[in-house]
Every structure is written in C-alpha cells, then in structure tokens.
C-alpha cells in the first residue's frame, strides 16, 4: 500500500516525459520490447521516462507472480468454481451437462446415507482435533518443561527429548495411505498386533474384531489412527513455540510460587495460544477429510466419512452429485474455520 501509484510531479522521474504521441518511433519500439529485455539494453533516454519506471515495476510483478497466480487459477480456483457450477448439473462424464438447478442438493437432503456420513465426519471434526492437540501440548510440555529441575534452569525438558520428538514426528513423513495399510494389519482380528498384545498381557477378553462391524469401535479405531499420525507434528510445533518463550517468564512464575500446573495454565498455554488455534484449524480440516484412512482401512459397511461417500458417487459416474457433496464439504470446512477463529479469539500477548 505504500506504493506510489502516481509519481510525485516534482520528482526527477518527470524529466524528459514527452506525451506518447510525440515520442519518436524508435522510443516507442524500445518501450514495447523493454518488457522482455534487461534494463541495460534499453536506451537511457527511455529509462529516465516515468512510464518506463511504471512498466519496470509491473514487469517485475508480472515476472515474479504470474506463474504462481496462474497455477492457483488453473488448479485451485478454477476447479473450485467448476465444482460449484457442475453441482447444479446432471453431468455424468459424457459431453452433456444439463442444468438441473438445485436437484442435486434436494437429492442430498433426502439421502440418508449422505447424512450418516456427515454425522461421522462431524464427530471426527469435533473430537479428533481436541484429542490430538491435547496430546500434542502435553507431550510438548513434557519435552520442554517436564524434566526435573536442574541447577540454574527454571524449566528443563525430560532426558532424551530430541529422540522422542523424532519418534513422534515419524508418522508425519509417511503416506497416510501406508499408515492406513499398516494399521489395518494392526487391527486385524486374526493375526493383528493389537489383539496379539492384548492376549500377551492377559487381557485376552478385550480382544475385538476392531473393524468388524461395530460403528463405535470403528469410529474410535479411526480416531486413534488419525491422532497417532498427526500428534508428532503438533509435538514439534508446540515445543518450538514453547521453546520461544523466554526463560525469564518461567523464572518469574517460579519466584511467585507457581507450581507446574499453574505455570502451564497461566504462562505456557496463553503464550502459545495463537499456535494452538492455527493447529486446531489445520487439524480440523485434516479430520474432516480423513479420506485415505477410512477408504483403505475401514470396511464400507462399518462407517463412511463424507469424502469417501463423495468418492463412491464419483466412481459411479454421478459427477454432478459428487461435486454438490464437495461444495458442502468446502462450506463445512470454511464454517469450521470461522467458528474456531471466533471462539479461539483472545487478546494476543506480546513478549
């Protein structure tokens, strides 16, 4: 916003400004090709012109920003608007797409299977971020401030904290598709790791067909996998945020007689709140998606999330209907973002 759209008339840039019509043809040509040439090939006379400076500025903008903007336009913005448009059509993959108004949305309204998938997605959206972030904050706090007091330090992490950070972060670098494959085996009722371990420690009575058909069990299993795969990311994120808090603040709190709990709730949490809120939004969007985990790991008769339901309609060729579901998904994630921004708003504390 500090850019001057109009140069100062008294500035040096106005020198040598001739009206466009009176410019010699050679200079006009120089202007035309100046867009593509480095400055040293442009005559000094033209370079002193203020129109050249404007041109130079926009040339820079165009050269540097046109590619990313084009990328966004073609691969993110355009599919987004196409999705909105095709959600009002009966496009089924062929050349024809008839405009059908709100038919797809009416169909969705009366589609019980769609609503049950939305219910599952909403449950994930509400509970997964809370669980994941709480665990992430807890581990991060243990890592940065959970160790015993050492001489000369107000707070210190547990021994081997960098090792734990790496181990917890590890699932984050793996494909969610592979994570789903691995956990499918872990949950497997006959040869799975989980049932095997339960039997081993004498809790054989708890052995389950984890993904065998019970909705609640399937939901918990899904939540556990998503939380497992994302918690490390938040441990790293939050421990970095906690590490950025000056140690003096902890020392002051300690001097005032604050215990571990009070230090956490009165000092640490308020100071990293901005990071927590950002993480909450990101995690919510991930939980709302949960596509690969549910598609690969959970059998369709147990539960479905909305993106999986969308994908199935897409595979059946009901493209119009699938895009309508996609639009609802986008609206849901935006609504979630706004709500979290709203209820997570607090005074930012500078330190």
């Amino acid at each position: 916003m500090r850019t001057r759209t109009r140069p100062d008339p008294s500035g040096p840039a106005t020198q040598g400004t001739v009206p466009w019509r009176k410019l010699p043809p050679g200079d006009k040509l120089a202007f035309a090709v100046a867009v593509l040439l480095p400055p040293r090939f442009t005559p000094a006379r033209v370079r002193a012109d203020r129109r050249y400076r404007t041109l130079d500025k926009y040339r820079f903008i165009v050269g540097f920003l046109i590619l990313p903007l084009a990328f966004y336009a073609v691969f993110v913005i355009s599919p987004f608007f196409q999705a909105i448009y095709y959600s009002f059509t009966d496009w089924a993959g062929g050349a024809t797409a008839n405009f059908v108004g709100f038919d797809n949305y009416v169909k969705m309204w009366n589609d019980e299977k769609f609503w049950s998938s939305v219910q599952t997605s909403l449950l994930l959206l509400v509970f997964v971020p809370v669980v994941t972030l709480a665990l992430g904050i807890f581990f991060a706090y243990m890592i940065t401030a959970g160790g015993r007091h050492r001489r000369g330090e107000a707070v210190s992490g547990v021994v081997g904290s960098s090792f734990y950070k790496v181990v917890y972060f590890f699932p984050q670098v793996l494909s969610i598709a592979l994570i789903a494959v691995v956990w499918q085996q872990v949950y497997s009722s006959r040869s799975g790791l989980l049932n095997g371990l339960l039997g081993e420690v004498g809790l054989g009575s708890l052995e389950q067909r984890w993904l065998g058909g019970d909705y609640k069990l399937g939901l918990f299993a899904t939540m556990a996998v998503i939380a497992w795969s994302f918690v490390g990311f938040y441990v790293v994120l939050f421990s970095a945020a906690m590490g950025a808090i000056p140690k003096d603040i902890y020392e002051a709190a300690l001097l005032d007689g604050a215990g571990r709990g009070a230090t956490f709730f009165r000092v640490t949490l308020p100071l990293i709140w901005d990071t927590v809120r950002t993480g909450w939004i990101y995690m919510g969007i991930q939980a709302l998606d949960a596509f690969a985990v549910v598609l690969i790991m959970v059998p369709g008769h147990v539960l479905k999330v909305t993106p999986v339901y969308l994908y199935e309609r897409f595979r059946e060729g009901q493209f119009g209907y699938a895009t309508a579901i996609g639009v609802v998904l986008l609206v849901l994630s935006m609504a979630f973002t706004l709500i979290v921004m709203r209820i997570g708003r607090r005074e930012t504390i500078e330190y």
């Binding site: 990328f71 196409q82 590890f170 793996l174 085996q185 790791l193 790293v236 969007i285 998606d289 690969a292």
Partner: protein, 301 residues
C-alpha cells in the same frame, strides 16, 4: 538473521551471571527418584507404541508366505524373496518410476515458481500483497477431495488423464502454498541491508538476489524442497482419481491394489510398503534438524 536463529527450537539456555533470582530456584533432589523413573518408563512405552507398527511392517515383509497365518511375532526364518517376487509379479517398478517422476518434477516446479514469488512478496510492499498471502493461506484450506471432480473435469477435457504431467502439475499446485509461505517468512528474515550493500557495490538487483539473498536462504529452500518432495511422494487422492491404469499410478495407489476384495497379500503389500517408505526415511533423517525451524519460521516470532 536474529529471527531465523531464534525460531530454531529451544535454544541454548542463557547462562547469565547468577543473580539473586537464580538462588531461589529449588535445588535438585538427589538420589532415587521414582517419579522420573515412571515418566521415563511412560515415555519409552509411548515411543514403542509409535514404532511398533513399523516393526510389524518390516517383519511381515520378511515373513515367508506359509507362515503368514502364524501368531508368532518373529518368523522362523527371514525370507527376502518377497521383495523379488513383488517386484517381478506386479507393476511396482512402473509405480516407483511414476512416483519418482512426480515427486521430482513437482518439487522442481514448485521451487521454480515459489522462489521468485516468495522473494517478491517478502521484499516488495506492492498493492495486493496482503491479498496474495491470504489467497495462499485460503487455498491451503481446500481439501483435495472436494476439488477432485473439478480437477478430473479439467484434465478430462485436456485429455490428460493417466499422464505423469497431470500428477506433477496437481502436486505442484497443492504444495505451492506451503513453499511460498515458508520461503516468504525465511527471506523476510534476511536483512535487506545486505542486498542494498551489494547493490551499492555495483551488482544489479537480480545479482543481489541470486548472489546474496538466495545463498542465505538456502536452509529455508532445503526445507521447502524436502517437504514438497515428501508430500508429493506420499500423495494419494489425486493419484487414485486422475490415473486409472495400474502402471500409470503412483506407488501409494499401486500398493493398495494388493488389497483385493477378498484376500490381502500381506507379505507383498508390506514388502512394497517398505520400498515406498525407505526414501522418505532417508530424506527425513537428512533434514530432521531443519524440520522445526522450517515449520515454525512463519508462526513463531
């Protein structure tokens, strides 16, 4: 420079002169501490919980086919033939090639596009700068699944389904936001005075950018590159929908073809999975240090 180093996780603790504040800190208790033992045990248990599925994956990949149904933790003998067979019998080689091309190509593309954009956004106060950054942020909120049909339609019209280029372009587009965001924060933390000094010494603006700022921003560039590579390597949804022929699909999708409607070939499945995760683990070990500073460059002061 100060901001870049400050964000690199918990830094060294200040060892200031022992003022009066220091003396009131409780002295450490000596001797046997059951509490810290419990914490350590708990932490190790958790670490085991995080690692167990990978061990399971590796062990199953090495399990001979006739021992698959056994409920033993370790097979009687290790069988490397799973790797050879899965390579010969399936399209794994093609899938690996597709994944390599897609991850490499989209990383290169992201770098080419995001570096100038980030440099410009960090250095110039141009009209619409806030809007550009907001656009970058908002596009990160779109779920690929919701855009799936729109993208399918676009590539269907361009007759580009089942093409490696399609996957390169979509992966680049979806990772652009993160790269621009990180690089903007990183370049913004490099003092502009350095460039001005170079320009006073006679280099052009472009020379100042390539010879002063970019070398200093290299750690940020490495972070952006490796994150993009890992994310493109692991991508699943676009590979699943925009490629329908088994040998044109990336590794993550190809692996799931081992999960049949009625049977799952666990040993093949996990042998292929091991092939898919090894490069990522190597890369991760390589950049583990950069992860924290890179991730938080934008969010923490």
């Amino acid at each position: 420079m100060a901001t870049a180093t400050q964000t690199a996780g918990p830094g060294p603790v200040k060892e200031g002169p022992a003022g009066p504040a220091k003396r009131t800190v409780r002295p450490p208790r000596r001797g046997f501490r059951p509490r810290s033992l419990v914490i350590a045990a708990f932490a190790w248990l958790l670490a085991a919980l995080f690692l167990a599925p990978y061990l399971e994956m590796i062990v199953t990949a090495l399990r001979p086919a006739d021992e698959l149904r056994d409920r033993t933790y370790l097979p009687d003998k290790l069988d490397w033939s799973n790797f050879i067979e899965v390579w010969r019998e399936s399209s794994l080689g093609n899938n690996l090639q597709v994944t390599l091309l897609v991850a490499g190509g989209s990383t290169l593309l992201v770098l080419l596009v995001s570096l100038p954009a980030a440099y410009y956004t960090a250095r110039m106060k141009f009209r619409g700068r806030k809007w550009f950054l907001l656009l970058v942020l908002v596009t990160q909120m779109f779920q690929p699944t919701a855009l799936l049909v729109g993208l399918y339609r676009e590539f269907y019209q361009l007759d580009m389904l089942n093409s490696v280029w399609t996957l390169i372009l979509t992966n680049a587009a979806f990772n652009l936001a993160f790269a621009v965001w990180i690089l903007t924060a990183y370049i913004g933390s490099i003092p502009q005075e350095l460039e001005e000094a170079a320009m006073v010494d006679g280099t052009s603006r472009f020379g100042a950018m390539t010879r002063v700022t970019l070398p200093l921003a290299l750690p940020g560039v490495v972070t952006a590159v490796i994150f993009t590579f890992i994310s493109a390597w692991n991508e699943f949804v676009m590979g699943l929908t925009l490629s329908t022929e088994p040998d044109k699909q990336p590794l993550t999708v190809g692996i799931n073809n081992f999960i049949g409607a009625y049977t799952v070939q666990w040993n093949y499945l996990f042998a292929a999975s091991v092939v898919a995760i090894v490069p990522v683990i190597i890369l991760f070990a390589f950049i583990e240090r950069h992860v924290v500073s890179g991730l938080t460059a934008g969010s923490v002061k």
